[in-house]
Symmetry: C2
Subunit: 225 residues, 2 copies
DNA sequence: GTCTATAACAGGATAGAC
DNA sequence: GTCTATCCTGTTATAGAC
């Protein structure tokens, strides 16, 4: 466990929300000269990788600096501390993953095909869900860390529900299937599948859960609809 | 992150499996005199509590000693190190929880009632699953820590499957429902429900997942069976 | 903005008295 | 079996030069 918050902790750190940067987000200055990525970007990129690999508690600022090639000063120049670095990294990760989800559900295919496409997309089950792997860390009680993860899972659930409602309106679902609880069940199966795969240390556990979910969708589909 | 394994690590520590104790498991000696709980028991009890509250990585031997009232020497007298203490604690936790599961599924009620009873049993969703909350810790790559958790989830899945097969044999399930994948789906929903509740910091997320699972069971039940 | 040096403390384990 | 004292390294953050 890290040092408990001491008198060194800034009283306003909880309210930290980033700052105006003097360089443009793309890492360029002056409009012409190309720059390598700034240390800030390198730090956030390294943190994104480490949060997925090891989680929050097990990732130290030193690990981040070693992987990013930055020095101590860069990290604490750009961020108040570890928590805010992680919050920035999680926000980026959530943005990337939400974009993937939106693309998946925006395709012009029939709604139940989109649901199936989400369920059967490729996953590295043993690595855990890129965002929700942090679910059981004490740090998730901090809103700044929890919110990006919640936004990601919330978006998936909303997309599933919208697709199921579209299918229901089109008469593709058998009577008695309600979109909202069915969407909750499907996202829970996927996230539960990650847990089962990690605990049994076997990708097959995820596959069984997903296969079951696909069969549920099939069973909920109106014949010849 | 803790100190990486150094030359101090015992080469045989991975094979540690406990040892014969000079005192009886109940903490008594000589057959008559009553004893308070041994320090070993206090250490394991404290570890059980802390693993649920904080997980493995975030629980230090110092925390365990502080909560148990034991000194450094007691811990390292009874165990080679932190990992083996956690393994002992997890083994006890799994044994306790498996006993609860077995009792739940051993009742003389109809099989689908047992399934519903498991799904709707009371849970502290925000605390996470007592065992599977450790799923995403790096330590789960150690068999001694993973196996008790896997045994617990495996037992639940086996009990669900057996009940569903019994229901199917009795003609209570609609055709096309296969016990094995349905059991995989149900355990995934419960474990996924914990993840959703933690991430959204809302017990209602677990309730929605469970409600959906109960509706699935209802939908899979043959009318008037 | 970025670096190195250093502080203050926690984590995990050992030594050896009793 | 249990205790206290101690060790070494890692973690998180600050200081201050460049």
């Amino acid at each position: 466990m890290p040092p408990r918050p001491t008198s060194r902790a800034r009283p306003d750190a909880l309210a930290w929300r980033g700052r105006a940067r003097h360089t443009a987000p793309g890492g360029r200055r002056g409009g012409v000269a190309r720059q390598g990525p700034s240390k800030r970007e390198a730090i956030v990129a390294a943190t994104k990788a480490l949060l997925w690999e090891r989680g929050y508690e097990a990732t130290s600022p030193r690990d981040v600096l070693a992987r990013s090639g930055a020095g101590q000063g860069s990290l604490y120049h750009h961020f108040p501390g570890k928590r805010e670095v992680a919050a920035a990294a999680l926000a980026e990760m959530a943005g990337e993953e939400i974009a993937v989800i939106d693309a998946l559900f925006a395709s012009g295919t029939p709604p139940l095909d989109r649901v199936r496409a989400y369920l059967t997309r490729e996953r590295q089950a043993l690595r855990g869900c890129r965002l929700a792997r942090l679910a059981n860390e004490a740090a998730m009680e901090e809103p700044a860390l929890r919110e990006p993860v919640a936004a990601y899972l919330g978006r998936i659930q909303a997309c599933l529900r919208a697709s199921l409602e579209e299918a229901k309106a089109a008469g593709s679902l058998i009577p008695g299937i309600e979109p909202a609880p069915f969407a909750a069940v499907l996202i829970a199966i996927v996230e539960g599948g990650y847990v089962l795969a990690r605990v049994h240390w076997d990708e097959a556990a995820m596959r069984e859960a997903i296969d079951g979910a696909v069969q549920l969708v099939a069973a909920a589909t109106r014949p010849q609809a």
